[in-house]
Amino acid sequence: MIKFDNVSKRYETGYEALSHVNFQIDHGEMVFLTGHSGAGKSTLLKLIMLMERSSRGQVLVANQNLNRFGRLQIPYYRRNIGVVFQDHQLLFDRSVYDNVALPLLVAGFQPRDAERRVRAALDKVGLLNKEKSLPITLSGGEQQRVGIARAVVNKPPLLLADEPTGNLDPKLSAEIMDLFEDFNRVGVTVLIATHDLELVQRLGHRELILKEGKLIHGGDADG
């Protein structure tokens, strides 16, 4: 599903966020990406999202070389990836329903079809009764679940999450992780960047560890 082939990312400032990263994630896998802040976790996710481009090496997602994507193709590519952010990235001037429906609106779904999918996604994260609320009226955990509903409403084959439990207490974090496991169980490939090592160990999925831009555990070259 995802393959990093000797990938390096050097920013214009000269800072090397990733260096010679090699790993592969198969279809239907659930993988944690850990490391201290500044280790390159976010950069790695951004490369997969095409928010950044690699300076060297190749990133392949679903057997497509991301280097080959032009600017105009990026939106269509992104529709195949669900993303959950630590800061939710919700729009506060519209309802929960409209937030979750955004990816469908963007992709051109029929309103009736979209409605069914939004309801299903909200039902899955347990917020069906909040569809008319504004995100600002929700708790942090609820906001994060809205973000997750938005990420999966399009039924993407790949789900990325950047510190999805960063601001949540352990109980809420566990609930959120349960959700990700549910999605993984139905075949979605899940990659979660987190520094919550306790949670990672408890759940026991494969772990990629980054340190100062280098993959020190879980990669291809890892002995």
């Binding site: 963007v106 992709a107 051109g108 899955k124 139905v186």
Partner: protein, 332 residues
């Protein structure tokens, strides 16, 4: 294209994992047109939600459009005034005052002998006085005069209606050469002057229109730039979930379109009010000059053109802002 069947995300799917939701072209087209509709509607609603701010922009565009269109309208009106004489050149020959009737008749023969004369009309001093009294409004004053101050006049019509101004000038020179003639006046002169003034005014109006159009472009462009700044967060999220540039651009372009269209309507109303206010006084004034001239307002085509131009300017202004600023906003 296969539509994915209605299912909850948690329902079991095939072994290869969840498949990407596919959307058919027909649905895409429908979605595209429906997004156009929503964008148009929502952007208008947003403008109306901040009425004062929008009104300011509309007024600015309205004034900027009303000035040149009002000027063009005024020029058009003056033009029609000139056109009434345009195809009908004539030379007025004022004879020496107190000339004998015999001499005058002799002169008539001499004039008729000249080349390119269609007809000659004699206006006796008495007739001229009557006409003047009737049309000038100075009738009472003329009554006070002891004697008729007006000379006898021949009005000479050239044979060729489309006679050139050079030919007319040479004709008037020939007429001026006769001893009996006091003064020759080309009626075309003032038309020529008028046409010069009109040509000048038109160029001035074009220049003004051009500069004010530029002003509209910048005004709309700047307003849209602020709108882009205000919606930065939304634009980032839309791009993250796979919104195309066109999708992000659409509501902004509609905003510009509404600025232009409503601004154009404001301009039209301004010109309309201006025309109505001036109509009465102009009619009275022209009545004083014995004319039935009255102001013509903007016609259907002119209104349509005004609205098209202002809408186009609004759209172009927002396009400029969008092209310059939108690509700078990327998810980070």
């Amino acid at each position: 294209m296969a539509k994915s069947k209605p299912s909850r995300p948690s329902s079991p799917r095939d072994k290869r994992g969840a498949s990407v939701s596919k959307i058919g072209w027909g649905d895409r087209l429908q979605a595209w047109s429906s997004h156009h509709k929503t964008s148009a509607l929502v952007s208008l609603q947003k403008l109306l939600a901040t009425p004062l701010q929008s009104l300011m922009t509309w007024l600015v565009i309205g004034i900027a459009m009303a000035l040149p269109s009002g000027l063009f309208l005024a020029i058009d009106n003056v033009k029609t005034l000139g056109e009434r004489w345009d195809g009908n050149p004539r030379v007025t020959v004022f004879l020496q005052r107190g000339i004998k009737e015999q001499a005058a008749l002799k002169l008539r023969d001499k004039i008729e002998a000249l080349e390119g004369i269609a007809s000659i009309e004699y206006v006796s001093p008495q007739l001229a006085l009557q006409e003047f009294q009737a049309s000038s409004g100075f009738g009472d004053v003329l009554d006070l005069l002891d004697e008729n101050p007006l000379p006898p006049v021949y009005i000479v019509m050239p044979a060729d209606r489309a006679v050139s101004t050079e030919e007319l000038a040479s004709l008037s020179e020939q007429l001026q050469a006769f001893a009996e003639v006091e003064f020759v006046q080309l009626d075309l002169e003032w038309v020529q002057r008028l046409q010069q003034i009109i040509a000048f005014s038109q160029r001035f109006a074009f220049l003004l229109g051009f500069l004010l159009s530029l002003g509209i472009l910048l005004t709309v462009g700047n307003t849209i730039r602020l709108a882009i700044e205000n919606r930065r967060e939304e634009i980032v999220v839309v791009k993250l979930v796979g919104g195309t540039d066109a999708f992000v651009r659409r509501p902004l372009l509609y905003t510009g379109l509404w600025y232009g269209l409503v601004g154009g309507i404001v301009a039209w109303l301004m010109v309309l009010v201006g025309t109505l206010v001036l109509m009465g006084p102009v009619r009275e004034l022209s009545a004083l000059y014995g004319s039935d001239f009255s102001i013509q307002g903007l016609g259907f085509i002119e209104v349509l053109r005004l609205l098209l131009i202002s809408t186009g300017l609004g759209l172009a202004g927002s396009w400029l802002a969008v092209a310059r600023h939108l690509h700078l906003i990327q998810p980070r």
